[in-house]
Amino acid sequence: MEPVFLTFVFVLTIFLGFELISKVPSTLHTPLMSGANAISGITLIGSLASLKTGNPTVAIILGTLAVTFATINVVGGYAVTNRMLEMFKKKDDGGAK
């Protein structure tokens, strides 16, 4: 039954994603792209959960690499998005001056 449940979640999220993203104005498309990119680092969760004690060496290497790459994606992605959006915020204040 699990595949069915997972498919439900997948289909619903696709619909939801379309609704949400189509509301983002073009001004924010670059931050959206990098923000979405950060979210795609979600594989980190899976990589963490797979790094168990007693794994064979190959699995440890693969797992550690996966964690490293996914972390770069997550941390870098959110940080860079935040940097961009900070400017948008500054601008608002700037506009008010």
Binding site: I14, L16, S22, T43, I45, T71, G76
Partner: protein, 459 residues
Amino acid sequence: MNTATLLINFAYVISAGLFIFGLKMLSSPATARQGNLLSALGMLLAIVVTLFYSGLDYKWIVVGVIIGSVIGLVAAYKVQMTSMPEMVALFNGFGGIASLLLAWGEYHQHPELSVFIALVTFLSAFIGGITFSGSMVAFGKLAEKIPSKAIVFSGQHIVNGAILLIALASGVIFAINPESSYAIFLLIVMVSLLFGVTSVIPIGGADMPVVISLLNSYSGLAACAAGFVISNNILIVAGALVGASGIILTNIMCKAMNRSLANVLFSGFGATTQAAGSGKQEGEIRPATAEDVYYILEAADSVAIVPGYGLAVAQAQHVTQELGELLEENGSEVSYAIHPVAGRMPGHMNVLLAEANVSYDQLVEMDDINPRMDTVDVCVVIGANDVVNPAALNDESSPIYGMPIIETHRAKTVIVLKRSMNPGFAGIQNALFFNPNTRMYFGDAKASIQALVAEFKSD
């Protein structure tokens, strides 16, 4: 299924909610930053609760997380705003490879998979691999580490088709009998990496943003597939959100260029058109000095500034803002006309001008400025080229024919700031530069504008 696992998974529901709220808040500039922070909080929550799974090998987790965080942070804070597209490509590739590695690791430890799980394992590895190598090529092209032009050779589509076929065939074999197909799996990994390269190499640098957005969508789908592999909802939710977002952005960009996605991916755009447009130098050009331009601007009642990729290259956003303020002090009405695909990413110009503190109400969209273009005294085109090329309107043979443009040629006077007569990224000549009411003000955009600013100040 013990209680800890159950609680962890309920926490994932909260994470999913935070991602969704985060995206919702991205729909307005005022709340976008909190939205991103909320999304990051969701990620943090998911990470923290995951660490409560029993039996984790914390040693290696710490190693990976620390290395990754340091690299990610340094990269994020060192990157120039103008290099955003490369950065996104790079990060994106890393997300893809992580999905590949995760699927590989799972398969390595539990090779006895059901057909369904074998299928999603294949998808996770295959899409992840394409995302990684494709993103690296895109990164290379944008950072000009490899030639940014479309690299095409005859039979390319056949080669790519063959590679894809091999990959799919391997996938089927693998899904039927995963337990004894370790070699096939490695083949899949290789082929996916190869396919990423061969499918992105023939796409020109100008089309890289579309490719990146598409690869962004892929990385989401790879994460989804990985979620199916390990039966983890949060991977599926987050991956599907990214997948949807990438597809929508890709679509928006293609529409703004009036091209189909197939055309972007398969036509070798940058390569062929370079040839097509090269011989078309017609008419006379009228260069102008800083002083000439100063007098023109000084007398203008309304000025529209049209930024393009050159503004990003020259990092001229701050001086542009300064020039805009001086013009306003001088009594002109100043607006910034933003083309949706000016620059190299959707919304690229908005980010740059936001960085330079240009206020919102001065930004005008293409559809709003065009109808009143006849009333604009002076258009200052700063490093834009394709997005103001009238060939898109009146030359059916032009590769950009049909793309909506900012119709600067209808303004009373046009001043174009660029370094040379070289074409933009579509690789075609621009008749605007030869118009009688156009003045070319050659030089690096930043230096040129600084000279103008000096003229205004010395006055």
